[in-house]
Symmetry: D2
Subunit: 340 residues, 4 copies
Amino acid sequence: MSLSVALIGATGYTGLEVAKLLSVHPQARLTIATARADAGQPIASVHPSLVGRVDLVLEELDADKIASRCDVAMCCLPHGASAETVRGLCAAGVRVIDFSADFRLSSLDVYEHWYKVKHPWPERVGQTVYGLPEFFADEIAKADLVANPGCYPTSAILPLAPLAKAGLIETDDIIVDSKSGVSGAGRGLKLGTLYCETNESIAAYAVGSHRHGPEIDDLVGRIGGIDPQVIFTPHLTPMSRGILSTIYVRPKSDDVVGAVKQVTQCWRDCYGEQPFVNVVDHLPATAHVAGTNYVQMAARASGKRIVLLSAIDNLAKGASGAAIQNMNVMFGIDQQVGLN
Amino acid sequence: MSLSVALIGATGYTGLEVAKLLSVHPQARLTIATARADAGQPIASVHPSLVGRVDLVLEELDADKIASRCDVAMCCLPHGASAETVRGLCAAGVRVIDFSADFRLSSLDVYEHWYKVKHPWPERVGQTVYGLPEFFADEIAKADLVANPGCYPTSAILPLAPLAKAGLIETDDIIVDSKSGVSGAGRGLKLGTLYCETNESIAAYAVGSHRHGPEIDDLVGRIGGIDPQVIFTPHLTPMSRGILSTIYVRPKSDDVVGAVKQVTQCWRDCYGEQPFVNVVDHLPATAHVAGTNYVQMAARASGKRIVLLSAIDNLAKGASGAAIQNMNVMFGIDQQVGLN
Amino acid sequence: MSLSVALIGATGYTGLEVAKLLSVHPQARLTIATARADAGQPIASVHPSLVGRVDLVLEELDADKIASRCDVAMCCLPHGASAETVRGLCAAGVRVIDFSADFRLSSLDVYEHWYKVKHPWPERVGQTVYGLPEFFADEIAKADLVANPGCYPTSAILPLAPLAKAGLIETDDIIVDSKSGVSGAGRGLKLGTLYCETNESIAAYAVGSHRHGPEIDDLVGRIGGIDPQVIFTPHLTPMSRGILSTIYVRPKSDDVVGAVKQVTQCWRDCYGEQPFVNVVDHLPATAHVAGTNYVQMAARASGKRIVLLSAIDNLAKGASGAAIQNMNVMFGIDQQVGLN
Amino acid sequence: MSLSVALIGATGYTGLEVAKLLSVHPQARLTIATARADAGQPIASVHPSLVGRVDLVLEELDADKIASRCDVAMCCLPHGASAETVRGLCAAGVRVIDFSADFRLSSLDVYEHWYKVKHPWPERVGQTVYGLPEFFADEIAKADLVANPGCYPTSAILPLAPLAKAGLIETDDIIVDSKSGVSGAGRGLKLGTLYCETNESIAAYAVGSHRHGPEIDDLVGRIGGIDPQVIFTPHLTPMSRGILSTIYVRPKSDDVVGAVKQVTQCWRDCYGEQPFVNVVDHLPATAHVAGTNYVQMAARASGKRIVLLSAIDNLAKGASGAAIQNMNVMFGIDQQVGLN
């Protein structure tokens, strides 16, 4: 079997990563790559690292053409615009993995409050599987549309959700302090992502107002069967790739050291069979998972809190790697194919 | 007036920074610089950035010589070793600014518990002024010995202490998540500070066990008249200089947005006359204070918490700049001289 | 004396650096800062590192106002636009230091060939002093208009010109391989200067076609009294600041090792009294001069060539520091004031 | 077929890279990894990025054990020490790919002059194939011992050798100005590779005296059938990985622009069938080949010279990727297996 894959919005960093990953995937190949502004140009002229690796010319988006030639589409468009496009692709019969936030949340109200747009396909909000195969593999396997998770949420949900579900932690004052590489901000031209603005500098942004906050709340709540209150602070860190989340939770038990052991055991029970989640003894660093689909997680006692640490590559497990993983699940391919 | 200054332990990054700052100070000059291993060599051969700026030969430490020639000594030795040396300098009549942690804490027990050494001069523990002129200028002015603050503590005490003192925040579950540039780890040869180990990587270290935790507790408690419980997590960040601390506090008031305004007003009241503390509207970035003795602080509401953000240069306000500021206060020089 | 200085085009990196340098200059102060798009805003809102250091509101450019209130204007506009503005300022009686290339070259033809614009004030081309005080201090002292040197040319002219003048080197096949930090590319929004495009990457650009090539030719020729042929290749290097130029010359003598000694002696003779040029024994690194107006230069034998190495900070000696140095010379202030 | 591979000296960066590459190679697996100091520890505790990817315990070196269990050994030891070990492995019947310089050069005298050691196995100097499959694939296929090329030489030989062979360039004044990421300096503890020493800094090192100079001379000469004089200058660049070489050659033809076309055509003729060498239109950047075994090369006219630009990943095509490529050739596997 060789899947034929369309990539919608190929000029950004997630698009580039999808193209690279597909170029080494033994059971899938990129056959259509679209880009509005650069249609007609070779993809390798937009991404010079694809020279000799991907030999495609960028096209305008044509849903029918994709439907007739592709098994699956990966849609890397901004929110709002994405839902519109995804709707058309689904209508044309293409299975879709959507990188935007348009179908991730359970509630239309929450979506429209945080994203400030009228949703173009409201019926599917709350009716679309969240693309975290560690929890939703069965639904992903059958899905016509998968909402690929946000990068920060992936780094927070994976450590938090099993603990919430197991009742090991209080869920009313969870603090998620996340540090992301600059690629998370995209390839658009913004003063804040110029080299000289970000190099040698770390800063928080969108404190108390980042859209990934409600996504973490929603999924930790959905998986854990609770209603958590997460305080989420993202930081722009002077590196290209990677997210480290430092998460402060209060254990239900007063024995914090014992609770750390329970946390570790809970993780091992939950993720023992999962190929990409590694519970580690050392303190995870983003470099340890750079360029891979792996997650590294560890826990430590600190005063009356447990500190959970998780590291991912924001472009891999936080975006394009997760999409390949989802594609594998959707088409009955082993999750690790093309990703190890 | 021109102060004559001795620098003890000149080969590290804080020593280099002291040498640079003194080279442009109009009322002080570096006259003796010591280094055990490199004695006999020009300081500029150890620090090539001092060529044409500082023309001194490194010497062995000689307390009597320093006493006869210098008004003040800056001691950049490791803890334990420092106290020993400082004792000798004080005995010889030299006023000393000590960069180590040996005289910062109130309690000998806490010191010996965390630093795992027998203190060489226990009488002075709890009897030495903490070198934060924003709070202790009067005592610093008269001191024979000043304990120069730790870098992380400076970034946490300045935002926290006035709020604790004013009773605006709960003090039992304060979370300090700090991100430091690599120079904070010193110039010693360690695998963890090699370029390829730290570049493109962020990681926490010493979670729940870093020695600056009790220092923050101690000083916030001392200034605020309370007994706080601070959870402190340091992170190694891929940049040379700077510390950003993201601090999560619960306001006493339920009106978090109103409490943020109170926080800002409290800071302005406390620091309005202080030359180096700036309460800012934007979110501070370490680059905004790089190479300066300034602190930038801001506050934001996030759920039921207030997030305090503070940025300093770890080698300037976090170490050598603070030492110059202390020296100015000790000798009746305007705080800003040589530092703006 | 306190000079009143106007800064034209204050929102870029060179403008920021001028503002910082003037904020610590004991004999000059920034009184007017202009910016087209951001007029009406505090300069510290555009450059958050100026909070607490520079308290000015950006204005529209008004040559008469500048003439009535300022002794000197520093013009940080792009070429072409700059000449137009400079002409107006000079007409209004303001002495000007121009950061653009508009008045640097000897020949109008060369200018119009390389810069592809009609020069707005052609009479001054070839009739304006080049702002390198190491060679032209007397003319700078009397000038109404100074052409502040290009960053790359400064790093190449200083090592090459005295050798050319002394007849120590062949001048027909000089190779200048320069590596610059990203700030040299300015603060405009360009894909190529996004963090993720430049981080972890080095590349040449404008090979055989960079406009600083003819500037190096022109000045080395003018100072050396020869007609050199310089091959110049700039590289974008993953760092914010600094230029290292590696320059390959053939000595006239067959004794390359002996010629290296002659080179070093020639430099010492030429620059012995110059406060900012340091001939060093070690191999210069850009970090050694970061944030300073210093140049470090060294020479080594390699086969039949001599390799000259020079390091500067592109924003300091390569732009804004040089401008302050020029200002000092223009107004009879010691060159080092505000710069050491 | 699945080759069993031994990795000798597994704790450095090249060893790590070999381990990563083998972990995804479909026809080879790492079965023995040795390390003197860390024997007995899991390899993933030395390299935390191998958690979940490579599950081996480091061992002491035992040539007989390797001979009985492995098809091939990759030897990542320092020069001198390597030859000693390689001799033992070869004697035990293991085919070896040696990462050191011990068997790369044609001449024992040149080796002993530059490496300042008595060679432990002098008979094989000049009698060992140089592991550049683009030129020596037939010999590599049959070899018991392959000398894996140096990183800088790879970046210089690939662009230069075909031009020398085709007689397109003068070979008496070739200048190779190379910029390498810090991983090239290894994982040993050295002041010069600390983060704060290399970050934000570029500098040349070993000017006129780097050991890769004679290696470039030797191979360009051997392949081109000439006796070239190459001036080689390496630079330490603030990035982890990558080498860019900027190479200045004089064409035999006076028509430089025409000669650039000949150069490009010569390269296409030489490398058209080679899977890893890409002649590109854009100017190569190290980021374009990061993490891959590809080379990107381009040529430009500049005055009377042609500037050749080549970019590789120093740890991939410059070391461990090349070793995998050599292994593939040695065992009749397609060159690209495990490398694309």
